[in-house]
Symmetry: C2
Subunit: 143 residues, 2 copies
């Protein structure tokens, strides 16, 4: 069965590229550098439903992403979470946090309505993250 | 250097046992079955700072815990998160969620003041989780 991204993720996110296991998306909210990994496997809602090699790949891809974001954005903290109370398809949030951001130290989920990126800002952001990931990871490719 | 648990985790949690990499703690809040894994490595604040074998162990132990909680509590969802905006020592939350719980579908962090377990309730809870993990995982032991 062909992989189908959940319609809510399709609506909220911009597709950036993919790793071996996961699609990389970015939430279209200019208030936070906020990225989402979605393993390309239908019908999965929990990490423990992945088999062991998939779990290892997931944490490897998550760590490549988090490490890259940490450097690229000079983050104070990376918040990583698999929540999925509203969107059941397994997706793992990676959010760059600063002590000076709008909701620090609270987690960001459900706090502020999204503010979409402006066109130039979006293209700069996608360009820099794509470039940084391609330098960092052999397995990352743009979609 | 001997491993030291962050004082805030010491204060909020009850030590349950350990896996090969992580200590397992439970947050003393009877409103949510809420468990925390802490890798026994000093000075780590992000998952990507662990080496690859440690990352694989972490996701394996996390999945054993989440799978066990899912069955034991008949959960609607397991929420897993590494946030650490307030407590820098790397710790990964595992929270059993129900569609009927007090803050569903919002994430629980920062939502409600904790209500400590009553003595009998605490001993029953610790007994059942310890038993379930020992059945599930060769590497789990009580502290």
């Amino acid at each position: 069965m062909k992989f189908k991204l959940h319609p809510q993720l399709k609506q909220d996110c911009i597709a950036i590229g993919r790793f071996e296991l996961c699609h990389l998306l970015m939430i279209n909210d200019s208030q936070f550098p906020w990225f989402v990994l979605v393993p390309e496997i239908n019908g999965i809602t929990e990490i423990f439903q992945l088999n062991k090699p998939q779990q290892s790949l997931l944490i490897e891809e998550s760590s490549t992403l988090a490490d890259t974001l940490n450097t690229l954005y000079n983050a104070d903290k990376i918040n990583i979470a698999a929540i999925g109370n509203l969107v059941p398809q397994l997706h793992i949030h990676h959010v760059v946090r600063y002590r000076t951001d709008k909701v620090w130290p609270a987690p960001i989920w459900g706090k502020l309505p999204a503010i979409a990126y402006l066109e130039q800002e979006l293209s700069d952001t996608l360009g820099s993250i794509t470039h940084a990931l391609q330098l960092k990871s052999m397995s990352f490719s743009t979609s």
